[in-house]
């Protein structure tokens, strides 16, 4: 086996040094009663070319080929990934290193993540960002737990029903074994979160709102900040599409205390939903309640700039059961990737790209309305929106699939009252021609 370098002579020599007769004898401390009965029943080993053939077969089972256009976002977006991103992230000095516990040998990872933290804080209008959480969903769950820590003894958190349904499910999972209560806030006719119920809630630690929300709708964050802060609760905003902040006001300028979400949009392939990137940022005053790793700038013995893992007294390996989270391994390489992508886009590029996504969605909406469809929520949206068709859309979707277009996510599985209403997404990867084709098919 090519990954195992030992020759049989070397094994013999080493066994003699260790003082045992055979490889099996190395396991004398494993009691008989704990041993396997026979060998593991696994497929026979494959050579590299056999594996290539095998995976080609698996790829053939995927009905959606790379040349299809998937007009669904819902937390996983198709954006162009420039060639430099995989080229640079696959540099093995980044790829095959681990957590930078020894900073003198890991300055590349450390500076790269420090830059990621900085660009993330600038994007979101926050003071501090951490080195990452697993994904947008766990980032939200961690943010809600952090809100409880900040508010000391309060017992309730509220979360908008317009937050990604899977994120809400994950938050519920994290809260189930705790003594805290997680409530959901309803959605108004216009697709925004109804905050009127907050007034009657006691013991409120934190409120989380997604913007743009699951329906693509841009929430009125400044108004929400007012309502939430007047209850003396922590205002958490979350996102699935960070590109929106190239165009929209960032959550910090709207009054958010903690901002978290999914960074997949920025240079990470969809890859069946993972790995992605849990982005997590907050105001400086809350940094010691923050979960996850942080990289800080410092100097070496000779006064040169360098970077280290810092404020680790918050973390599990020091604080044990009193840590702010149990997270250890995070999404390091994905944070590096997103840092690279933000740098490659630049301040000028992110504005242009966000504008383009917005314009395409508006063009698409206008076309659908002309074709007789209805846009369900009249609030402004970014690159996603919800559509109701005059007639059954299923046969249209079937015809579109034949034209290599995967059109819209039926929201009925997530919101029973939105059955046969479809969530659409367009990004820069969808040409006008594709949009026109879809609209024409709806008209038929």
């Amino acid at each position: 086996m090519r990954y195992l370098p030992h020759t049989s002579e070397e094994i013999e020599t080493m066994l003699r040094v260790v003082g045992v007769d055979s490889l099996n004898d190395l396991f004398s401390s494993v009691p008989e009663a704990c041993r396997r009965d026979g060998e593991m029943d696994l497929p026979l080993p494959m050579t590299e070319w056999e594996l290539n053939d095998h995976v080609r077969g698996l790829a053939a089972l995927m009905d959606i080929k790379p040349d299809y256009k998937v007009l669904i976002g819902a937390g996983s977006y198709d954006h162009h990934i420039p060639a430099i991103i995989p080229a640079l992230t696959s540099r093995s000095e980044f790829l095959t290193a681990y957590t930078p516990y020894q900073p003198e040998m890991a300055q590349g990872t450390l500076q790269g993540i420090f830059e990621y933290q900085t660009l993330t804080a600038r994007l979101l209008g926050m003071d501090v960002a951490n080195a990452s959480i697993y994904d947008g969903a766990s980032a939200l769950a961690e943010a809600l737990l952090m809100g409880i820590r900040i508010s000391k003894k309060r017992k309730k958190v509220a979360i908008s029903s317009a937050v990604h349904p899977h994120y809400r499910q994950v938050a519920r999972t994290y809260f189930r074994p705790t003594e805290f209560e997680l409530l959901e806030l309803p959605v108004l006719e216009n697709g925004r979160t109804d905050l009127s119920g907050l007034a009657g809630l006691g013991e409120l630690a934190a409120v989380a709102i997604q913007s743009p929300n699951f329906f693509g709708v841009i929430e009125d964050l400044p108004a929400a900040a007012g309502a939430i802060h007047s209850r003396d609760a922590v205002f958490i905003t979350c996102f699935t599409e960070p590109l929106a902040y190239g165009l929209l006001k960032n959550p910090g300028s709207c009054g958010a205390d903690i901002v978290c979400g999914e960074g997949q949009s920025f240079g990470i392939p969809r890859s069946f939903g993972g790995p992605g990137l849990g982005m997590f940022a907050c105001l400086e005053q809350y940094v010691r309640s923050m979960p996850g790793r942080l990289i800080g700038q410092t100097t070496d013995l000779e006064g040169r700039r360098g970077f280290v893992l810092t404020l680790s007294t918050r973390e599990q390996h020091i604080r044990r059961e009193k840590a702010t989270s149990n997270i250890c391994t995070n999404q390091g390489l994905c944070a590096m990737t997103v840092g690279m992508y933000m740098a490659a886009l630049g301040g000028t590029g992110i504005r242009e790209l966000a504008r383009l996504n917005y314009d395409k969605a508006e063009y698409f909406k206008a076309g659908l309305v002309k074709a007789g469809a209805k846009i369900c929520f009249d609030s402004p949206t970014f690159n996603e929106f919800v559509v109701e068709f005059a007639e059954n859309f299923k046969p249209v979707a079937k015809r579109l699939l034949k034209k290599k277009i995967v059109a819209g996510l039926d929201l009925g599985g997530y919101y029973p009252n939105l059955k046969e209403k479809y969530l659409f997404c367009v990004t820069e990867t969808v040409s006008r021609e594709i949009i026109d084709t879809l609209v024409a098919e709806v008209k038929k």
Binding site: P100, M105, Q117, K249, F272, L301, N326, G347
Partner: protein, 485 residues
Amino acid sequence: MKTVLATGGLILNEPLLWEKGKRGRRGMDVPASDVPAAKIDPEFMGVGPDFPDLSEVDIVRHYTRLSQWNFGVDTGMYPLGSCTMKYNPKINDKIAATPEIAASHPMLPDRLCQGTLKIMYELQGYLATITGLDAVSLQPAAGAHGELTGMLIFSAYHKGRGAARTKILIPDTAHGTNPASAALCGLHPVPVQSGPDGILDPEVIARLMDQETAGIMVTNPNTLGLFEENIKEVSRIVHAGGGLVYGDGANMNAIMGVADLKKCGLDIVHLNLHKTFSTPHGGGGPGAGPVCVVDHLKKYLPVPRVVKDDKGYRLEYNRPDSVGRVHAFHGNFGILIRAYSYIRCMGAENLKKASQLAVLNANYIKEKLKGDLHLPYDRPCMHECVFSDQKQHEFKVSTLDMAKRLMDFGYHPPTIYFPLVVSGAIMIEPTETESKDDLDLFIEAFKEIVREARENPEILHEAPHLCKVKRLDETAAARHPCLTG
């Protein structure tokens, strides 16, 4: 004089991203718009983030220079204990980038994604076979996330039996994440002292196990690199008290094809695919921490689960006893597929061989270095061995000094000051992918450092000498945090 692996070389300084660039440069194309500009309500418009504008060349040089300040497994030996820094096969990265798979959207109907679902289904089966347990969830994104999932199952199980329990036993030889994972589920950790031989004493467990205790979290092999020889008896005691046994399987690399974790009495085990199953560590993730359970706990696994019926593979959502969802989608699929490729390339025979050679390598280092370094538990080890700096105290040389000096010889230091049960611990896990030649060089380097400690301790105190930076002021970093530039 013999050539030492490490040498000085030309690396370049590189400023922070925003210290370079010019407004108007671009590092990637934004396509020209083919639709009319739409109206936007100025009320929502922001000014856009303050990112630097850089060219493609600026970006490529920036990250290439940064990468050259790093050390990875591809650079050299990385014997970081408990992290299993084995070689990461290149073919697995290529497989993960297969276009149909890398571009697959996670929320499409099952019938459109049979390939990815099949990979998950088969991987679940392989991991069940390797551990000896019955059912697997691939959702957890890392080891600690797997532990959390396991503790959620503990909590659901006891609630289901109508008696929530509040405590959990955690040995001093368990992984550092365990207490925090348990605490997230409202379980109060009760520390368990390991015996004088470094393993658990069933009598101690019997004394601590009571009706308030949800169970135990055991790392096996433990963080001293020792197999818990009494695990079956420990499990029996915990089960008799109505508790469950959680196995932290981060050290599975020692026992593939040898131990059957179900026969050991474990009810839940998480695996770290980025350790045992060779997926790259990425400078701190992404990893994957699948959770394996015995049959009677299957109903608690996260939702959805991949199942197979006569129509093919599908995601099963209707699971009323499930602890719920722990990941936005299906876990870190890009990591799962790498582990899948690895298992398919290795097969049963080579996975077992990998464990055998990992254990051989660790024992070889232990034997060769035990004259030079203090070995607190002198008995056969599994995949890692734990020394301490006790013999170097008289020269005022610490574990940290020796670790930093190893860099000058071209090695990543071992895990240091962990496990806490050994003061000044030096935890070495060579893994099976290091050859005897490379181990001999490493051993020679360590012996040389031990000699330096006696004869020239200053050179250790000031180490490293060859890295881009000298030792960094971590105290100042924590006292006056500078977390953004």
